[in-house]
């Protein structure tokens, strides 16, 4: 199949002089044709006049396709997951024990979510600066149908190395549901009295580290006791197939 419309196909013996004549008539410097097709046992060349136009068209299509691809990728990367409804007070039925001397941070993580790698990195940043000011708990989802050790991934290993972090296996996400988490990477920050002061994610987008309002809000609460943000969107994989109750984009159930 010939992908290009061909103005004239010339036998190769005639090509050289005809091509030169064509160039002369077109007032152009000699240009190499794009491709040489082999067909009918003879090598043929394309008419030069068509090559440049098709090249430019190809380049334009390529550019538009690339831009479209990037828009799709950026849209995915910057689209948050569902934010769960976090209780205003520390759940009494939770297995986790509230530390009444300092703030309490609960992070719900899907152990295999690639986007949560950035969340764990941000947690490490927070703990590096505020280890003593907060009791951090990381809940690792372990679905009922999963095998033993399913939740112990390299992400688990990285989180376990953060000083001051308590690691808890959350069988079937019972604890996560108590804290209203539906998306991996959801953080719930409670003060020493068990009042929720912040809920949401601490990454700028899916899998991306860097400055973001969520992390800044947690840091502000832990260092200054106040922040302009009380919630932020969560970027991560859904924890549950059934998703559970969730907030809409405006933060209401």
């Amino acid at each position: 199949m010939q992908p290009f419309p061909v103005k004239a196909i010339m036998p190769i013996e005639k090509c050289e002089s005809d091509v030169a004549l064509l160039d002369e008539r077109l007032g152009r410097a000699p240009n190499r044709p794009l491709v040489t097709f082999i067909g009918d046992g003879k090598a043929r060349r394309l008419d030069i006049r068509w090559n440049r136009r098709w090249l430019l068209t190809m380049v334009l299509v390529w550019a538009l396709a690339s831009i479209g691809g990037f828009i799709w990728l950026l849209t995915f990367t910057n689209s948050p997951g569902q934010s769960g409804i976090v209780p205003r007070e520390w759940p009494a039925s939770s297995r986790l024990v509230l530390d009444s001397n300092r703030a309490n941070l609960v992070l719900m993580v899907h152990p295999r979510c690639p986007c949560s790698r950035a969340t764990i990195s941000e947690l490490a940043e927070i703990m590096a600066k505020c280890e003593n000011a907060v009791a951090a708990h990381v809940l690792w989802l372990k679905p009922q149908s999963s095998s033993d050790g399913w939740e112990v991934t390299d992400l688990w290993q990285v989180a376990a190395a953060i000083p001051g972090v308590r690691m808890l296996k959350d069988d079937d996400g019972i604890e996560a549901r108590q804290f209203g988490a539906v998306t991996s990477g959801q953080v719930a920050l409670f003060d020493h009295q068990g009042h929720m002061v912040f809920c949401g994610g601490i990454t700028v987008s899916r899998g991306h580290r860097g400055e973001n309002p969520g992390r800044a809000a947690v840091m502000d609460w832990l260092t200054k006791g106040t922040s302009s943000y009380s919630e932020f969107c969560v970027f991560g994989c859904p924890l549950f197939a059934d998703r559970g109750p969730a907030k809409n984009a405006k933060g209401t159930p």
Partner: protein, 739 residues
């Protein structure tokens, strides 16, 4: 051409060359980027597989969009431009597509790596690589992609750039600043590289101009000097063949000698110019080393005899073989060294020696040395010996003549041959000039191998008086693995022959010093040759024709005059042994000459525009009994060929209207289409002696080559190659090698 025109030509050539370099750089960079972008695509897929292969919903997973982006979007951003770069390498569109694609690829990789700050260095590295195109516009394209990316993200996804939902204008400037910072330095670097390239191209164009001017000068000088000199020397030759009084003959001889000396100086000057212009190339041909050395010794021995001392020569048997070398240049060096030795030696001797150092499988290093008992060279002056226009002593030129070019040319020629040259000397004792050159052995043909086998183990009876031993011949016979039996008198030789017959180990051949033959020994010689049927090869210091003829009657089959060359001894032995064994004898046989053959008419066409040269050639041909017609240019030559049959054409290369090359090509064309019968031998006559002249003559269809000024003997020898001077039938139908 005038100087401004030359400069303009040089500048435009420099600009063309510069463009060519830049185009080559662009094509090369295109290919490099094609490879890099292919690797980047694979790297992106590897990163996605490592960091984010699957996305999860509870216990279930599916392919992560990042992996799909790495494969498909990665292919689009990397392979698209790479494909264009390969197919349309070097074009402006390709490099801009590469620039845009590379920036998009950087963005994708940063995305896949989770926005790591370290990954941003890929952008800066890519910009640096793009500068290899030496095109500032490419950097602009790439930087624009970065700018637009940040602008759009800043508007639609500000958090991905600034980490907050509001645009931080200062951070935007900061980001832009770093990119501009790198761009500025890359632009400066591109500018410097382009300047350096243009400077280099200018320099090369100037050199080319200079070389072209040198070549033109060489060609012009070669022609302009040699043409009148050809006339002078030629007319002198003709004049010498006329009836002259002793006084007139003396004057003409002096004229000839002066002309030849002038020619020698012109040749030296032109050689030096050629070497300095890099125009000298070696013409490697099979060459018999011992024949080459002995030729020079033969000629030079006359000068030595006139001065009253001998010129010795010893060529080691291991060097007596055919090698690939430029015989003319080797001869030039040796003639120079031997000439110097003879010039500066008043008494004593001069010895030419050739030895073999480091023999390897198909090559050897030959060491040539010329030892004299001359004045010697002070050590303080030795370092200047091989410099041009430098002589040992400022008074040397006055006393001995010469320009001081000879040794300089020798050094350059030896170094061109891959060798080295040196001198050992002591004032009042003498000097030894030596040079060593590596030589490859020529492929021995089957005939040579057969001939060598013919001599293996043969018993040779050598009859030489005490104190008259010829070491060269002894060494050669040993090298050929002959069994030597030496005796001092013919009586002893006869006894040895009788004994050998009794022992059934007869001698195959005898080498006899004919200087020993006097009185009764003529009878002994006759008995040796007749009764014992022993083939005898006579050796001796140039005997008269009558003496040689008498020896022949006594049974001496061949006579070799001193100095006896190993190659001649070899040929004589093979000839004798072949005849004895009934095989076909050699073509090149050393025979006692028979009576002269009288030439039969041959008709030649001479195409030459110069009147004096015409006269000279006509006289030379007449002297050889050859008739000729004359044409003043190529056109007239073609007309003449249409009208009459010729046996040969002597074609001058430089003629007005139509030169010799064009005329020769036209003759061959007409022969090919049957407009002219057969194949006419064409001999080029040219005053130029530059690189490429031989090839030009061959390409034009000529068969041989004579350099002006034409020597009579050389002309005769060349004519004899193509036209049988004893019959009208041309000897060769295929083209012979141009010398």
């Amino acid at each position: 051409m005038t100087l401004p025109i030359l400069e303009h030509v040089a500048r435009s050539r420099a600009a063309e060359r510069c463009q060519q370099y830049e185009a080559d750089a662009c094509r090369q960079t295109d290919r490099q980027f094609a490879v890099l972008m292919s690797l980047q695509w694979l790297a992106g897929i590897a990163i996605a597989l490592w960091i984010s292969p699957r996305t999860w919903v509870g216990p279930d997973s599916q392919v992560h969009p990042h992996l799909l982006a790495a494969v498909f979007l990665g292919a689009l951003t990397n392979l698209g431009p790479a494909f264009l770069a390969v197919l349309n390498s070097g074009s402006v569109l390709s490099r801009h597509a590469i620039a845009v694609g590379q920036m998009l690829s950087s963005s994708l990789l940063i995305q896949l790596m989770g926005g790591r700050i370290e990954m941003h260095f890929h952008i800066f590295g890519s910009l640096a690589f793009l500068s290899f195109y030496r095109d500032w516009r490419v950097l602009i394209s790439a930087s624009m992609v970065v700018a637009i990316d940040h602008l759009l993200r800043g508007i639609y996804w500000p958090m991905s750039i600034f980490g907050s939902s509001t645009i931080d204008i200062w951070r935007a400037f900061e980001h832009a600043g770093w990119v501009i910072f790198e761009d500025v330095f890359l632009l400066i670097s591109i500018g410097k590289i382009r300047q350096a390239t243009l400077h280099s191209a200018n320099h090369e164009a100037q050199l080319e101009n200079s070389n072209r001017a040198k070549s033109d000068f060489l060609a012009v000088m070669s022609h302009e000097l040699r043409t009148p000199l050809n006339g002078i020397l030629g007319m002198n030759q003709l004049l010498l063949n006329t009836e002259l009084s002793d006084r007139q003959r003396q004057f003409v001889n002096v004229c000839s000698t002066s002309g030849k000396a002038l020619l020698h100086q012109i040749n030296d000057l032109l050689d030096l110019s050629k070497i300095e212009a890099g125009k000298l190339e070696l013409d490697l041909q099979p060459c018999h080393l011992d024949a080459l050395v002995y030729d020079i010794v033969d000629v030079s021995s006359q000068s030595a005899l006139q001065k009253g001392y001998p010129l010795h020569c010893h060529v080691a048997p291991s060097v007596c073989m055919t090698v690939m070398c430029d015989g003319n240049r080797l001869r030039q060096v040796l003639i120079n060294l031997v000439g110097n030795a003879l010039k500066f030696t008043i008494s004593g001797s001069v010895t030419v020696r050739v030895e073999c150092l480091q023999p390897l499988d198909r090559q050897l290093t030959a060491r040539f040395s010329v030892t004299d008992t001359g004045l010697g060279i002070p050590s303080a002056r030795r370092h200047r010996l091989f410099e041009p226009f430098s002589q040992c002593d400022p008074t040397t030129a006055r006393k001995y003549g010469g320009t001081g070019l000879g040794l300089s040319i020798c050094k350059q020629l030896v170094e061109l041959m891959g060798g080295q040259i040196g001198v050992e000397s002591q004032v009042g004792v003498g000097s030894r000039f030596w040079f060593e050159v590596p030589l490859k052995l020529a492929t021995e043909d089957a005939a040579s191998v057969r001939q060598r086998h013919l001599l293996l183990g043969k018993r040779v009876l050598v009859i030489e008086g005490i104190g008259r031993e010829r070491k060269q011949i002894m060494d050669s016979l040993l090298a050929w693995e002959c069994q030597i039996h030496r005796v001092g008198t013919f009586q002893k030789a006869l006894d040895a022959a009788v004994q050998s017959e009794v022992d059934s180990t007869p001698f195959a051949v005898a080498l006899a010093d004919c200087e020993l033959v006097m009185g009764d020994e003529y009878v002994l010689l006759q008995k040796l040759a007749g009764h014992h049927r022993l083939p005898i090869i006579g050796l001796g210091t140039n005997s008269t024709d009558e003496a040689i003829s008498y020896l022949r009657q006594l049974g001496v089959r061949h006579f070799l005059g001193d100095p006896v060359r190993p190659s001649r001894v070899f040929n004589a032995l093979v000839s004798v042994l072949s005849a004895e064994s009934g095989r076909r004898s050699l073509e090149e046989v050393v025979q006692i000459p028979n009576a002269e053959q009288s030439p039969l008419p041959v008709h030649v066409l001479v195409a030459e525009d110069n009147r004096i040269n015409q006269m000279f050639i006509i006289e030379l041909l007449k002297y050889n009994g050859i008739t000729c017609d004359v044409a003043a240019n190529g056109k007239e030559a073609l007309e003449a060929l249409q009208n009459g049959p010729y046996d040969l054409v002597l074609m001058d290369c430089n003629m007005p209207e139509m030169d010799g090359f064009a005329a020769s090509r036209e003759i061959r064309r007409r022969e090919a289409v049957q407009k002219l019968p057969g194949r006419l031998p064409i001999i080029a006559l040219t005053a130029n002696a530059l690189k490429g002249d031989r090839e030009r003559c061959l390409d034009a269809g000529m068969d041989d080559y004579l350099s002006k000024p034409i020597e009579a003997a050389l002309l005769q020898a060349t004519l004899a190659k193509f036209v049988n001077l004893v019959s009208n039938v041309p000897l060769l139908t295929a083209s012979a090698t141009v010398r």
